[in-house]
């Protein structure tokens, strides 16, 4: 498969106060070229650390990570590897916090281009105006001279998408870019992202905790739990017939689908005290004795999926929506 990004067996730990937090363990996922791959999971599942590893901005207290992140044929994970500046664009979560309020928005993006894109200042400006047009900002010429507070929330998110595109990236990684927006604005921004991916032949890794957003944007998905991949595969297959007990129970919590709102008993384990074996076993209704010792491998499953649970078939029999 032609892949824009391949992550193999990635593990990241953070040190602090004599403790070691196991943030990511054995993450394997692929972003096929020209498609949108979603990463979904609840707080503490390691979504943000995964993004940081890809962007090469892991915090200083991270141990030497294990595994590989292959981008354009090179492993970009080692600290000394040449970083793919500009080739990976980043769309942050909060459009209100991600722009410096005392500088013009246009200048902040031009600064990125000056560092990482070839060309003169005039060429950069012309390109940015064209990008502002592509992200459908009203009056692109005037937008160049405006300060962040002069844009609405949706417009600011469009600015940040333009910033992510300014150095002609091959891959976009997006960190829940629509959580701070209203539904009607969210719908517009998601439509824009889909259109940009199609028109520019981009690939995208999209992190979210919202299954509705996932369903409307992503082709493939990996469901993370406590730093490991629980289930991955085509979005429709995973949403329609979730197979891992965690995915099943989580989707049963969605107000669209829930017969009765049950929640999941227990809580996500702290990263400093991950349970042995399958990390979901203390909360799992079909846990078996071996789940407490053996780390379940990602096994191929029907519909092009992979599921990290040898007992997933038992879940069929378990009385759950």
């Amino acid at each position: 498969m032609d892949a824009a990004l391949v992550i193999e067996d990635l593990a990241v730990q953070l040190r602090g106060r004599g403790e070691v937090a196991d943030i990511l363990d054995g993450i394997t996922l692929t972003v096929p070229r020209g498609s949108v791959t979603g990463v979904v999971g609840e707080s503490g599942c390691g979504k943000s650390t995964l993004l940081r590893a890809i962007l090469g901005i892991l915090p200083g207290r991270a141990t030497t990570p294990r595994g590989r992140i292959l981008f354009e044929g090179r492993d970009i994970l080692p600290a000394r590897a040449a970083k793919p500046h500009g080739r990976i664009g980043f769309v942050p979560q909060d459009p209100y916090l991600s722009l410096n309020p005392v500088f013009r928005a246009g200048d902040q993006i031009l600064e990125i281009m000056r560092r990482h894109a070839p060309g003169t200042r005039a060429e950069h400006r012309a390109k940015l105006v064209e990008l502002f047009r592509a992200v459908q900002l009203p009056d692109p010429e005037a937008a160049l001279r405006k300060y962040p507070h002069q844009f609405s929330g949706g417009q600011r998110q469009r600015l940040l998408i333009a910033a992510a595109l300014c150095c002609d990236p091959a891959l976009i990684v997006a960190d829940e870019p629509t959580t701070a927006l209203d539904v009607t604005t969210q719908r517009e921004v998601l439509g824009l992202l889909r259109e940009l991916v199609r028109a520019r032949g981009l690939s995208m890794l999209f992190v979210t905790h919202d299954f509705g957003v996932l369903a409307s944007l992503c082709d493939e998905v990996s469901v993370l739990y406590a730093g490991r991949v629980a289930e991955s595969g085509p979005t429709r297959a995973v949403l329609d017939t979730p197979t891992h007990p965690y995915t099943r129970m989580l989707l049963a919590c969605h107000p669209d689908r829930a017969v009765e709102l049950l929640g999941i008993p227990g809580a996500v384990p702290p990263a400093t005290a991950q349970p042995a074996g399958c990390r979901f076993h203390p909360r799992c209704p079909v846990a078996q004795p071996d789940c407490r010792q053996d780390v379940p491998p990602l096994l191929p499953w029907s519909g092009g999926r992979a599921v990290a649970c040898p007992h997933a078939a038992r879940m069929e029999a378990h009385a759950l929506a």
């Binding site: 609840e42 707080s43 009203p138 609405s152 929330g153 949706g154 209203d182 539904v183 009607t184 604005t185 969210q186 719908r187 517009e188 998601l190 439509g191 905790h209 919202d210 299954f211 509705g212 957003v213 369903a215 409307s216 979005t235 429709r236 949403l239 129970m249 989580l250 989707l251 919590c253 969605h254 107000p255 669209d256 689908r257 829930a258 709102l261 049950l262 929640g263 999941i264 809580a267």
Partner: protein, 321 residues
């Protein structure tokens, strides 16, 4: 069901008083809202940022003084009072803060925060306060030793539970829940919604549920009002309103909400999000409405019946149906 709370043509202005060489600035955040909440009902208010949901709640609560209109609580007229007095008369209404973490004092143990509310409301016996706190912690599903913890030691879901315990101790009749599930993970959201349903049944509570999450509102509320730029544009039984939305704005809002089945979203809402600084003449929604006519630009539509207990303010709702 007898009526618990009624607001008649309620209007609230937000703004600064005039100062030296500075004219008074005021924004009409709530403009002529009429609503009636029956005892034991869960009443939802939905709308986008800036539509006046929170200002409406603050006015009902007595934290914000109404500029015009009348509020009746349990058959007694409670409006027209200065904020401090208004708040006292409305002790039966309690408010659960949007961000329950911010509503707790980080230097105080949770138990002390809970105790303070009871002391302020004149429960002088320490034993009675302790007994009521222990009982309430159990009711929201927390162990009694949670009283000894500090707010930072609680998870988001636990903070929400403490926020609920704190106001339920005061034995309110009407609880205003401002975005009670914002920022929660799906599984935690499910357990919070379940808890809300249990508490409502157990204590005979009435809810005013403010949210922008339509899937949650649909799940929880009996009746729903949709707000746009400070006015209610549609109101009705949740089932009828979600199945047959009559107002074009309600339709757009429902079409924009992402769903699990990935069903194609409806046409998007054109134009910029509205601002209270530039309220359009006539129907406030007409600049963004696909069905707008000359009449809409000239004349504000009156509320008319669109079904049993279902009202809509649109000149053209019949054609849209």
């Amino acid at each position: 069901m007898p009526e618990l709370l009624r607001a008649e043509a309620l209007t609230t202005d937000l703004g600064r008083r005039a100062g030296f060489l500075r004219p008074a600035v005021s924004l009409r955040a709530v403009d002529g809202v009429t609503l009636s909440i029956a005892e034991g009902e869960a009443f939802g208010v939905v709308g986008e940022s800036g539509c006046g949901k929170t200002t409406l709640a603050r006015t009902l609560l007595g934290l914000q003084r109404e500029a015009a209109g009348e509020i009746t609580l349990g058959g007694r007229r409670v409006s027209g009072l200065a904020p401090a007095e208004a708040r006292r008369v409305r002790a039966d209404i309690q408010y659960v803060h949007q961000d329950p973490g911010a509503a707790l004092d980080p230097w105080w143990r949770v138990g002390a925060t809970l105790d303070e509310g009871l002391r302020i409301h004149g429960i002088s016996s320490a034993e009675e306060r302790a007994a009521r706190i222990a009982e309430m912690l159990a009711a929201v599903g927390l162990d009694a030793d949670f009283g000894q913890r500090y707010p930072h030691e609680l998870s988001g879901g636990q903070q929400r539970r403490i926020g609920l315990a704190r106001i339920l101790l005061l034995r309110p009749k009407l609880v205003i829940l401002d975005e009670p599930t914002a920022g929660l993970d799906l599984s935690v959201q499910a357990s919070v919604l379940r808890l809300l349903a249990e508490l409502r049944a157990r204590f005979g509570l009435t809810y005013l549920f403010i949210s922008h999450d339509l899937t949650v509102v649909r799940r929880v509320c009996d009746r729903v009002a949709v707000m746009y730029l400070g006015q209610v544009v549609e109101e009705g039984p949740a089932e009828a309103l979600f199945a047959n939305p009559a107002h074009p704005y309600t339709r757009a809002l429902l079409a924009a909400a992402p769903h699990l089945d990935g069903r194609a979203a409806g046409p998007s809402l054109p134009g910029e999000p509205p601002s209270l600084r530039r309220i359009p003449a006539g129907c406030r929604f007409h600049p963004r409405c696909t069905r707008a006519s000359a009449l809409c630009a000239a004349q504000a539509p009156p509320m008319e019946a669109a079904g049993p207990a279902h009202q809509v303010a649109c000149h053209h709702w019949r054609e849209a149906a």
